[in-house]
Amino acid sequence: MVSFCAFFLSVSFMLGSAAALCDRCYRNGGTAEVFEEDFQNTASFRNYISNRFFRFLAMAEELPLYSYDYYQNYYDYYYDYYGIGSIMEQEAVAIPGELLETEDKEWQYGAKYGGDEYRKSDRDYKKEAEEYHKLIAKDKNLLYRISYEGKTLYTNLEDGTWNAAKDALPDGYNFLLYFDGEKASVFKDGAELDIYGDGYYTEDSDWFLPGYFNFTQDDEIKKVEIAILAAERPSLYSHVVKSNRNGYIQSESPLYYMANAQSKNYSAARTEVTLLIAGAALFVLYLILRKSKKTVDVWIGKRLNKVWVEGRLLLLFLILSGVFTNYFSGFQEYYGDVFAELVYAYDGFEGAAWYVGEEFVSELMHWLTMRPSVLLILFWLLYLLVVDIWQNRGDFWNGLVRRMANGFETKSMKLPLAKRMVCRFAPVFWSGLLLGAAEFAIAFLLRNRWLAAYWQVLLVICGGALLAVFLWLSWRYLLKVREQAAELERLTGFIAAVHDGDYSGAEETAAYSEFKEAADNLKEIRSGMEQAVEERMKSERMKVELVANVSHDIKTPLTSIISYVEFLKQEDNLPQHVKDYICILDEKSERLKNMVQDVFAISKAASGQLAMEVKELDFGKLLRQTLADMSERIEESPVTIKTVIPEEPVFIRADGQRMYRVFQNLILNALKYSLEGSRIYITLKTDEGTASAGIQNTSRKELKEGFDFTERFVRGDESRTDGGSGLGLSIAKSFTEACGGTFEIELIADLFVVKVSFPCL
């Protein structure tokens, strides 16, 4: 969280202050100007002083204050309208470079090429100069003395306060420009400034004053002597005079505004620099903590992802359009109708477009730096967009349209194959149609615009023809797809039939034109499978028959054995060892009998020939009955049985007699092989439509891992000699499966777990 705050503030600070600073520098003509605390060191001030100087020069020489030309008329208009004092001076502050420069150029022009022409003008320059003097004399921020041939013409210096260049300046004034007729010297805070440098004027020179080697001057100027004093801390003076031309004219204090603006500029620039540094410091903090910012990004991503993409895009569009509406009204005010110019450029001159474009971009950049808030909004929007795209990779387009598309997809999955295939093609067809309509609409709307009429007609005809061809082709294709889909559906139906075990059906191969080969192959597979299944059934039947015959053949002699063993058992006068032999014979014959019966039952169950009497029955009751049935044996055994069987009925479909056999075998098994004193757990659980009975006992012997206990003739204890056939689990498994249940054995260390499951009703 901290890191994100640091990131947010640092970027906002840096971006905002950098933009503001750039704009400030751009507006004030350079970094040096902005970071100058003393207004007297700024170019505005120097320009202002030069301007005043040349005006004073003109006043001394009785030259026109302004030249007669296009610009002059333009300024005269303002002169007439607003009054020279206020407007001219204020404009000098507001847009220093442009206005004064033009005027300087004009003056220079006039000075170079025969200033005499203007003297012949019918205007009363002396009167203008006097008027001007009257207007500005009350502004004590700028003191001046204009002398011609040693005689003071105009001054607003009070007598005795200051006389010569070498005198100390009056209180509150620290700037002096003194022109002796040839060169100007500038003193600031008592020290003389080097204004000419190497003596040649270039564009980079600070001061524009006479006295450079490359400025020619007439002799008249040598008679002029001008001193200009500027206040260190200008105050506001306001003076209204009555003009014979324009009624009342107000004069204000340009230096005061200039100093004010400069100090504001300076403090603002300082604040911006502070912010920039603070931003940079915060950015360093963010870099240190940048890892924890990720969590905030993830959080933002999650939030954003909750909004549908349509909503997000709409919001983005609204914000951008809001910004741009504001932007364009501002931009047009500032720059004029750029688009009109752009269009004009395209219409008119080649190459101009490039120029306008370039200018447009630079103006746009400039405009943006003037509005840091817009810049920040754009930046953070971009940031959110990037976070959204990055954090919600793959899920960015989550929205209504996508949901609808998905819904359509799932819905169409339910349709039969043929319809689905045709449906899938529909968008292509419709979009083609829509595209065609759009083309005609555009052609209609743009008629008479760019092209000559017959070209338009040709375009429409060509487009229409292409569209017709496209539609015709896609319609043909659609028909073909439909045909194929129908065939494919028949083929899949065929496959489904084979899957369901229908090997018989004779199908019309002729219908399958495209898939004839596949259909033929499938047919072969089908007949092959039919044959294989038949053969397998036959062999199963034979197997069962064989087992039945063999068991019958064994039973006959076994009957005799059992009978005679029975007689032997009834003999009284036999020695003990013979009785023991008879006992063994009895045991073994009993086991053989069980085995024969079980083998027969298993082979029948495995081949699915066991007659089943499947009924609805209560699984829990079956278990309880089985336990009750075996209660005597359970009581005799050294283990206890714990049961968890629900009271409420759990209905399944099974053959009760067979399942009794299954559980009898399982419980007997558990009784036989359990550790003495241990517990056998018999449970019945229902879970998601499946009822499963579990029988769990602790084995007396170590259980062998990975041993299949359901294999026939497998016995947990190889050395046991009871009557068991070794087929108990095998029978349990085949009977359960014959009833439609599942039989699982799990070994957990010495735990032997059997699970018998049936679907609930």
């Binding site: 019958h552 005799s560 007689f567 019966q597 029955l617 309880r624 049935d629 209660s631």
Partner: protein
Amino acid sequence: MSECVLVVDDDREIVKAIAILLEKEGYSVLRAYDGMQALRVLAEESVQLVLIDVMMPKLDGLSAVMKIRERQNIPIIVLSAKSEETDKVLGLSMGADDYVSKPYNPQELAARVRSHLRRYTRLGDIHANPQSGEIRNGRLCYQAQERTLYADGEPVRLTATETKIIDLLMRNPGRIFPAEEIYRRVWEEESFAPENTVMVHIRRIREKIELNPKEPEYLKVVWGIGYKIEKVEKYG
């Protein structure tokens, strides 16, 4: 005079073993080793019961049974190594009265012979004229008024509870009773887990009425549902 039993089997040792068994029980035994021979013996001697094997040379057991039934009404017990239900049903439908599968249990075989002979020689006329209040079901006969159960005409000694159970079941032969219902109607109270109690009594009754209590013919458990007395159509 002792009853005469004809034992027919192609396996001489088996015939001999059965003969020894039955002679011990006090019956006189005639022997035959194929179907033709059996028919000859029957034509010449007075025989009260026939024990006959299915698979035999010359004339097989089932054909022989059909031939015997053409002339005589004596009980016939089919003895076969085929133990399947279908074989049993086939044997009984051919006219046999009982079916014992090999290898047989000697005690059970003797009990069956005894049961059939008693009913044939002594009870034949009783079966012809049923009395009122008498419910007959195969070997069993229940006198409702006396609350006495007869098996092969002999009264069975039952305890009071056992009599109540038999009364309930014999009055509704073929109907399945859940243990809860039996308990409620016999003990006349509700029980939490009646299965064990009911099963103990069922087992005791079986010992008294069934020829082979391990493979009951009458008092049966319908697994997962309840208990019933099987409705037996034969012997009638």
